[in-house]
Symmetry: C3
Subunit: 338 residues, 3 copies
Amino acid sequence: MTDSHTSIQLTNGGQLRNFIALRGLPKPVLEQILDTAASFVDVGGREIKNVPLLRGKTVVNLFFEPSTRTRSTFELAAKRLSADVLNIDIARSATSKGESLMDMLRNLEAMASDMFVVRHADSGAPHYIARHATPNVAIINAGDGRHAHPTQAMLDMYTIRHYKGGFKGLTVAIVGDILHSRVARSQIYALRTLGAAEIRVVGPRTLIPNDIEAMGVKVFNRLQDGLRDADVVIALRLQKERMDAALLPSESEFYNHYGLNNERLTVAHPEAIVMHPGPINRGVEIASEVADGPHSVILHQVTFGIAVRMAVMSMCMGGRETERAARRQQEQEGQDVR
Amino acid sequence: MTDSHTSIQLTNGGQLRNFIALRGLPKPVLEQILDTAASFVDVGGREIKNVPLLRGKTVVNLFFEPSTRTRSTFELAAKRLSADVLNIDIARSATSKGESLMDMLRNLEAMASDMFVVRHADSGAPHYIARHATPNVAIINAGDGRHAHPTQAMLDMYTIRHYKGGFKGLTVAIVGDILHSRVARSQIYALRTLGAAEIRVVGPRTLIPNDIEAMGVKVFNRLQDGLRDADVVIALRLQKERMDAALLPSESEFYNHYGLNNERLTVAHPEAIVMHPGPINRGVEIASEVADGPHSVILHQVTFGIAVRMAVMSMCMGGRETERAARRQQEQEGQDVR
Amino acid sequence: MTDSHTSIQLTNGGQLRNFIALRGLPKPVLEQILDTAASFVDVGGREIKNVPLLRGKTVVNLFFEPSTRTRSTFELAAKRLSADVLNIDIARSATSKGESLMDMLRNLEAMASDMFVVRHADSGAPHYIARHATPNVAIINAGDGRHAHPTQAMLDMYTIRHYKGGFKGLTVAIVGDILHSRVARSQIYALRTLGAAEIRVVGPRTLIPNDIEAMGVKVFNRLQDGLRDADVVIALRLQKERMDAALLPSESEFYNHYGLNNERLTVAHPEAIVMHPGPINRGVEIASEVADGPHSVILHQVTFGIAVRMAVMSMCMGGRETERAARRQQEQEGQDVR
């Protein structure tokens, strides 16, 4: 699986060509994403520059699972790279005329599309599309099932590096519903690759996968133990719509045991930052006093998210063009020989 | 209220920074809007020029109340200013994941948005957003409840100035449902500020607010009295969906008393122009012979509306940039002192 | 009818100004469309170039009948010509406020729109709009009822010319539901004008119009007879949603008699190409072994479709500008005389 992900995501020369999962991507690629994103952020970190890197390219947003927020960030990122953007409302179009998904994808590819941004409720869908449906289109995973949400994890890494200077020696606590979270999975891979000292997952036993320690994390069931001396605290969104009711008695009970508030944060490092992938459930996983307080960098994550998505998109397009140039040269040389 | 509107709409130097209501805006600002719009209209008045004034800026259409027509005019205006445009379908996205409106707005702001075009069924929503939610984003009111529709009023002013040369000595009759009309309210403020000689509101007693004379207008309940010698006749749209049935017996009864037809127009000035904010209800507030006749300038209003919206958008962005430059210089000077 | 179509589609100088139907358009215009499209296709025929020919122009997609695929191709074509594109969701907007279709169209024209791409379930709607509603806007027919789908037919012609070098001596077989197909009708006009040697329509008696031979085609009711020695085989989409159930017993019966598979194709020319307007119904009008096989050029049709739509759009805009320039000069000369 790791090998499969690596080979499909990187060119022979090691350049990014698809962005599907963080598992298997080497540290230099992740650092290149962060450095490229930094070049799009202004000095103060509040504005994002427009650049013509994708001028003349066509980016198609293929959201099989609706998400206005995530689609908007990708749409803005593509437009700031000067790409043409096409939003396809899958629910209304896909099979309405009896066309198979595969045929629809191949048709979109044939329209001279350069990149698909794919969101899908099934784990593995972007990988499948990249391998079997439209190999000539760059695929960006915008969240697939419980599997991965790699651009979210990379914007989190950008935010951590921005505020903490790097990953060395950092203790990072991820709090909440680990079991159903594609965000947590991607964060853990990224933090390990980038060299965080200690990665903790914090939550009730029912919401933490049994084998998670094999990923190199420490498990904490008590919030106060998990937060102690943490440099970075990441609250996960309680995916109410995905959770089996029986796993969690009520929102207020979750808040009573795992909700972040100012008092509980006192055990963390005094300069800890608090992050959240959004949208936040106030009073469930996080109190307003924390979300709007001095430790919170939640809205900065959103700003950095545009730059990180621009970085991933422009790097994949660059990798594809290197591949095409190499293929053209091979064909040329083949003809010269004949 | 006036002061609040003035301070939130103008920079310290008197430049436009939000465009929420006409009440409280000084005459030179309104004239600057008309002059700026004129620079976008070609000599013949039929085509609108494209300009790069908002290149690299992001405009978000936030329509809490659906209006394809008004959204389209703002979308076109923004694109002709070379802005990137994001349309957010609020109904489908806003609270679908339990996110508060305030959090959604702050997230959109954090995506490095520069301007929100806001349409809302509640009076005061754009003002609230500008003051409390996203003060760093320029807010353009695209119609809020019964309160205001300032870009509509300014395109009406542009049309009047285009055909009548100015406002001095003009008699303007506004006919129809004044009570529920945000358009009428904005028109009255604009006409007073720009110096129209006489502003008349014409309609049945039940559709005219009791205290309207305090706004400096004359009230007429008989159409023929209100139209006599008028230079400009503005028919309002009968907002059927907003009106309590009991206030108005039927559409045909309204037409019998207040519908504009050629015969009734004979008492107006021979060169009177007839305007309507659209969409028109043929045979209710206006007969087809008038809507399509020689006095009608209704479709020209639409063309001018693009130019006026371009003017308001580019002026607000200019005001914001002046503010930011001033703030940066202050910070610089503060650092020099230290 | 022919004359009416010719005069509304061509300027006095014979340039394209609307694109509504192929009937009545002369051969040089069709060839100019193909040549212009060729200039947008790269050497390998796999990529489409971006050009600034419609910069500053506004294209409105008016789809009265939903079609994500066709709308997407026009949207991409317009964006690759650097136009601003406005998508109007007619179902949600049109008459929701009681506005007449005619008024809505005139309003969109007044917003300084340059081109409407019209899809409509009623035959003749684009022609009606071009003649009676908005004569100053270039109208492109994106499919109207059973009448015509001229851009589809022209991309088919492009594909044939690309693979066969021209039309001279070609035998073309159109297979399937001719009766309900606007595509077939447009293809027949185009093939005759461009000089194909033999045009065949192949299908069950119930799905072939009685008077079709008057269009200059040969009718075949047995598939094998129709395919014999054909250079080009075009399978039509079985328009299940349009067909009266009684006309056709079942999909499998249709496939048994008219479905294209490898075995049946053996009677055609060994280098025959197989085309389909899409979306394909696998196992109904075409077997997967053919759709994905060596004779199939179905996905290339899609790629060429972008270039052909770019050609039609840029040519209509050119014709409109020539007309406007001529009109301005006339006005000028009229003034000089006075």
